[in-house]
């Protein structure tokens, strides 16, 4: 996983120009009007919290809840970092929307053949060695991309060398760690960041699923045993009844 890609957003540098929004909309061919919330035509947006600007987008978890939830495997964590969506597999159950701890995936509620929409960290562009569209569009390098290790080290360096930063990298341990990181000089709670559990969410369901084979083996054995006893008792009762009637007959 050494080549896993990631994005670092430095909230102290963001000037709120929304170039990232526009860059994203352009490469996807979406209408370019500014939107206030993530939508099927706005896979990243800039929120205003006081005098700070906060980008929202898919966090690309290391062990994504959405990918573990998707029953047909349409959502996948690729080796290169992005969590990608295969629209050809999706059946529209929307369990990914239920599962995501950051409430990121969006659904095309108005369409008759609706799909899920979310950021894929420009997986195709990155595979060709290009930058994600939002990162490329940023004029002040508030968003930078690189390998996950590189940008984590960079985030570490920034918050250690400058006392204005909150001593925390949002994304380093949220939901078991993500591939998109935020650093800020204002506590994250005040900027509308979600507070998901620290462990990878798929672990929560894995333990229940792990019980499945046990249920089948133990339950199957138990029920077969009970059936055997039931049968045996019926046979014994029958034999006794026959014996009794034979005795009475003689």
């Amino acid at each position: 996983m050494a080549t896993t890609r990631g994005i670092l957003v430095d909230i102290t540098k963001c000037i709120g120009c929304r170039s990232c929004e526009q860059g994203c909309k352009q490469i996807h061919g979406f209408p370019t009007d500014t939107e206030l919330k993530l939508s099927t035509t706005a896979l990243t947006i800039v929120e205003e919290h006081g005098d700070r600007f906060v980008r929202r987008m898919c966090m690309h978890c290391q062990d994504p809840a959405c990918a573990s939830a998707c029953l047909v495997g349409a959502l996948k964590k690729s080796g290169a970092g992005p969590v990608t969506y295969d629209a050809g597999k999706c059946i529209g159950c929307r369990y990914c929307l239920v599962a995501c701890p950051f409430s990121v995936p969006r659904y095309e509620w108005t369409k008759l053949v609706p799909y899920v929409k979310k950021c894929d960290m420009c997986a195709e562009r990155q595979a060709k060695g290009q930058l994600p569209a939002c990162v490329e569009a940023c004029p002040v390098q508030a968003s930078i991309s690189g390998t996950r290790e590189e940008i984590l080290a960079e985030a570490q360096r920034r918050i250690l060398n400058d006392s204005k930063y909150v001593k925390r990298i949002y994304g380093s341990e949220e939901a078991g760690g993500t591939s998109v990181f935020f650093i800020s000089d204002v506590p994250f709670e005040k900027l509308g960041f979600a507070a998901p559990p620290k462990q990878p969410l798929p672990l929560l369901t894995a333990s229940a699923l792990g019980d499945g084979p046990t249920v089948i083996l133990v339950g199957g054995a138990l029920l077969s045993g009970l059936y055997w006893i039931t049968q045996r008792r019926a046979l014994v009762a029958l034999a006794e009844a026959r014996e009794k009637s034979a005795k009475e007959g003689s």
Partner: protein
């Protein structure tokens, strides 16, 4: 007698006709206009009434079939054999409504077969979909003799019935295991909502909670259906069987209640029990309907032995069960979703119409198939006397 008569317009027929009319509009809205027109679902509330009531309650209330089949065939409790076919029929129709409901729920319903070939074994929903698929097949097979035995051709009929007899125990065993798995995995679906599902409901034991509550609720629905058959469909059932079933429901509900409170105490969530908020009120409504009221009522012989009282008590259990499932799937997630979801009327209509279709199918199955023994037809000499109701 006139050769052709129009069906009489009665109260219940009018209701059913209205439900179907509304259901047809909902179908049009969902499939011709889309989710936005047919539902109040949004990104923060991606699952609503169709999942909460249609799927979670539909599957849960259909648990009676496997419970009775396992009791009769695996545990040898022949006492319940007379109601076996009815309970299997109820479960089968219940799962049919779930499968039809799935068509409404899925954004791309014609891809419903995808999970058969596209696997993700880390997904709880994948396991649920396979179990539901297989168990619906098992139920169809378990119920099939009721239809096959009506075939006029003796040879294929007997051949099928003999084959069916030889695989019956395997079917029941598989059905019991499949049911146990997906009844609990339906609760497992919500394990991934940690931190967002209200603490009064989120527990690592959601799976066990769902399993323990489904069996008594399924049995309660079975009692209700059989009571209604006896009351209006001219069939006979030994009512003491129903009162025996109710003797099983009470300890199962008590067990669920004890487990629920032990879990709440062990997770240190007692504080939430006395907070003045909507979730807590709904929690107490759930506990009252699913545990307290039924236990008080079922503890009285007068209630257990009077079919009408028993029917009422079972209705309370079923309502409590529905409250529990809607709490987990909708109300306990509202606070964290940040929006207030109220289902659109078309959502209610679609679900109601599906249930009404199952009830109509059940009615005709009881009338035309040998599910429950029928009362003898009235004799000529009885025509003028008081109608005899056994």
């Amino acid at each position: 007698m006139t050769a052709k008569r129009f069906p009489k317009i009665s109260f219940w027929r009018t209701i059913v006709a209205l439900i179907f009319a509304a259901g047809i509009y909902s179908m049009y809205a969902r499939f011709a206009l889309g989710f936005k027109a047919a539902t109040n679902l949004t990104d923060p509330q991606p699952w609503g009434l169709w999942v909460g009531l249609g799927t979670l309650c539909g599957v849960g209330l259909s648990a009676g079939g496997f419970a009775i089949a396992a009791s009769v065939y695996l545990l040898g409790l022949d006492r319940y054999r007379p109601i076996l076919r009815t309970s299997v029929l109820i479960s089968f129709l219940g799962y049919c409504t779930v499968c039809i409901g799935m068509m409404y729920e899925l954004g791309i319903p014609w891809r419903i077969w995808h999970p058969i070939v596209m696997w993700n074994r880390h997904s709880v929903l994948f396991e649920v979909s396979w179990c539901v698929m297989l168990y619906t097949t098992v139920l169809a097979l378990e119920f099939s003799p009721a239809l096959i035995e009506k075939l006029p051709w003796a040879k294929p009929r007997d051949l099928y019935l003999r084959w069916h007899h030889s695989i019956l125990i395997a079917l029941v065993l598989a059905g019991t295991l499949l049911s146990s798995m997906h009844q609990s995995f339906l609760g497992g679906l919500y394990l991934i909502t940690k931190g967002r599902l209200d603490p009064l409901w989120y527990t690592p034991y959601l799976t066990t909670m769902f399993y323990l509550s489904a069996i008594p609720a399924g049995l309660a629905l079975t009692i209700m259906a059989i009571y209604l058959c006896v009351r209006s469909l001219n069939v006979r059932v030994d009512m003491s069987i129903l009162s025996d079933v109710s003797k099983v429901i009470a300890p199962l509900l008590a067990m669920w209640g004890v487990f629920r409170f032990v879990d709440l105490i062990s997770r240190d969530t007692i504080g939430y029990l006395w907070m003045w908020r909507e979730e807590t009120l709904l929690f107490w409504l759930e506990i009252a309907l699913l545990v307290i009221i039924p236990l008080i009522l079922l503890n009285q012989q007068k209630v257990r032995q009077n079919p009408q009282y028993l029917y009422g008590t079972c209705a309370v259990v079923v309502m409590g069960f529905i409250t529990n499932r809607l709490n987990v799937s909708i109300t306990a997630l509202q606070a964290s979703s940040g929006i207030y979801y109220v289902p659109k009327w078309t959502e209610f209509a679609a679900t109601l119409a599906t249930i009404a279709a199952a009830v109509v199918a059940f009615h005709y199955a009881i009338v035309y198939l040998d599910i429950l023994p029928k009362n003898p037809p009235p004799q000529k000499w009885m025509a003028s006397s008081v109608p005899a109701r056994a």
